[in-house]
Structure formats: structure tokens, C-alpha cells
């Protein structure tokens, strides 16, 4: 293969990789709402209760590079919003929970409303603003209901 063709393949590879990276970043900040809206039992997860207004339920594993970062972000969001609780569940030794919630990547974050019903799901590392927007949306919906 001549060097020019090789360079073209290399350029195509780079373009595809950047495309994949941008797509994955977009997906991580896209709240998914068409999910099963089940009621979460905090005791089953080893927690003693849920947030009064909402709960940020994070699933982590020990071998998860981005989980501590998301943990910090969500904890600080919970501190800034009254009645919002942050729960971080380590799935490393609980494959049953991972299976139940169909967790294929960590971190995965579920946003629960005041009744513990799963409303929104984020796979990956969501921006703080996207999570806050979801909480505001949730608060608005319960106010109207």
C-alpha cells in the first residue's frame, strides 16, 4: 500500500474514532425516560431510606474509573437541593442488583421521584447541569399532579 492510501485510512480511522467519542459523550448526557417505571425498595439495596423529594441512585463498581467523579458530582447536587438524597450502590459483589436493573455499564444513575419510582436513567458520566435539570423537571411534574 502506498503511503498516501495509508494516510487516508489513518485519517478515516481518526474521524470515526472522534465520531464515536462525540456520540458516546452525547449519549451520556441524554436522559432516558422510556424505561420501566418501577418502585425501588431501598431496603433491598441495603439503604435505610430514600430522599424526601427525589433520590439519585448511582450504581458503581470497584473497578470503575469514573464512578468516584460521578459520586462527588451527585453528592454535591444532593447537598444543594433540599430533600434530594444520593445513594451509591456498589455492584461489585451484587450481580443480582446489576441484573435486576439491567446495568451494563458503571456508573449508571437512576433518578427516583418522591415515591421511589424510577423516572430517568443516565448511563455514564452526566453533566451536573443535566442532572439538575432532571430534578427541576421532576419537581415541576409532582407540583402539577
Amino acid at each position: 500500500m502506498n503511503p498516501l492510501d495509508a494516510l487516508l485510512i489513518l485519517a478515516a480511522l481518526l474521524a470515526v474514532t472522534i465520531g464515536v467519542g462525540l456520540y458516546l459523550r452525547w449519549v451520556q448526557n441524554r436522559p432516558r425516560r422510556h424505561i420501566s417505571h418501577e418502585v425501588v425498595d431501598p431496603l433491598r439495596l441495603g439503604a435505610d431510606g430514600l430522599g424526601e423529594n427525589a433520590t439519585l441512585l448511582q450504581f458503581s463498581t470497584q473497578l470503575c474509573a469514573r464512578c468516584p467523579h460521578v459520586h462527588r458530582t451527585l453528592r454535591s447536587v444532593a447537598e444543594d437541593h433540599a430533600g434530594v438524597r444520593h445513594l451509591d450502590i456498589d455492584l461489585t459483589h451484587r450481580p443480582d442488583i446489576a441484573k435486576h436493573f439491567h446495568v451494563l455499564q458503571t456508573p449508571t444513575t437512576l433518578v427516583l421521584d418522591r415515591n421511589g419510582v424510577v423516572q430517568t436513567r443516565f448511563g455514564g458520566v452526566p453533566n451536573r447541569s443535566v442532572v439538575e435539570l432532571e430534578l427541576i423537571r421532576l419537581a415541576g411534574e409532582t407540583a402539577h399532579a
Partner: protein, 171 residues
């Protein structure tokens, strides 16, 4: 509230990304050597094994694989990590947060596996195998360096879900 289990001493998360950037650069050179070399020009199945080994793309990927092995087995002394701590980190602001060293280490193992598959297939005279393995490793290294996405780390949970690893690992 259940906190994550206590982790080993944290590392600066920019360290693995710095190493991934250098790895990605090396892999670009290797892909270029592979695409212009005997792996794709149709002669690979006919040449003797010695010539398959002396292919520059093979030698460079072998070096990259050894670097993967180094950071998998002895992460504290791996060259790019040492370079980062001695030269780069003193010039940066302190990290906002520390990271668990195990996921990047696991990802090094995945990189090693991909590189070894490419090397072995080239030894058996399979055309294109070496540059394609280098491309796969490049995609992972580049996504880590540029976007902070660690594909090898994502893989961990999938393997665990399948019951292959980690389920009974000590906390």
C-alpha cells in the same frame, strides 16, 4: 448511606490519560508502518517467520505490548507513569480528585490482549491482522486520552455480569 469499599491509594486521573495519549501516538506510527508494510501487500503468508518478526510494524507493536505488560505488572514503575509524575504533574495544578488505580490497570490488560492477538496472527501469516489489532487498540487509547472514556473499564462490568471475573474478588 453505603459508601464504596475502601480503595487502594488514589492516583491522579490525568496520569493514565497522559499514558494513553503517548500510546495512541505510538499506535498511529505502528498502523502507518503496518499499512505500508508486508502485513497488507499480499506477501505475508509466503515469507518466512523470521521476516514476519523483523517487520517494523511487528517490532513496534511488540514494544507497545511490552509497555502494556509493564504497566499491568508493575504500574508504579511504568515509564509513562514515571514521566508523568516527574515531569508533567509538577507543572499542573493539583488534581481535583484521585482515581482508583485498578480500572486503568485492568484496561492495560485488555490492551495487552489485543496487541498479543495481532502479534500472534501475524506470526501465523494472517494478512491485515496486525494493523487491525493496532487500530482497535488505537481507538481505545484515543477515546481514553481525548474523551476520558475507558472502554477496558466498561468491559469489566460486562465480564462480571457474565460471571467470568470479579464476583468473589476480595473487597
Amino acid at each position: 448511606m453505603p459508601e464504596p469499599a475502601p480503595a487502594p491509594a488514589g492516583i491522579d486521573p490525568r496520569g493514565p490519560r497522559f499514558a494513553a495519549a503517548i500510546t495512541a501516538l505510538l499506535l498511529i506510527v505502528d498502523i502507518m508502518l503496518g499499512l505500508t508494510g508486508l502485513a497488507v501487500d499480499g506477501t505475508l503468508p509466503t515469507v518466512p517467520v523470521a521476516q514476519r518478526i523483523l517487520d517494523p510494524a511487528f517490532l513496534l507493536l511488540l514494544a507497545i505490548a511490552l509497555l502494556f505488560l509493564w504497566s499491568l505488572a508493575w504500574p508504579r514503575s511504568a515509564p509513562w507513569g514515571v514521566l508523568f509524575r516527574r515531569v508533567v504533574r509538577p507543572r499542573l495544578k493539583p488534581p481535583a480528585e484521585l482515581e482508583d488505580p485498578r480500572p486503568p490497570r485492568f484496561a492495560q490488560g485488555v490492551g495487552l490482549l489485543v496487541a498479543v492477538i495481532g502479534l500472534v496472527l501475524q506470526l501465523f501469516g494472517v494478512p491485515w491482522a496486525l494493523p487491525i489489532a493496532a487500530m482497535a487498540a488505537f481507538v481505545a487509547a484515543f477515546l481514553n486520552a481525548a474523551f476520558g472514556l475507558c472502554l477496558g473499564c466498561q468491559l469489566y462490568l460486562l465480564l462480571q455480569r457474565l460471571g467470568l471475573i470479579g464476583r468473589h474478588a476480595a473487597a
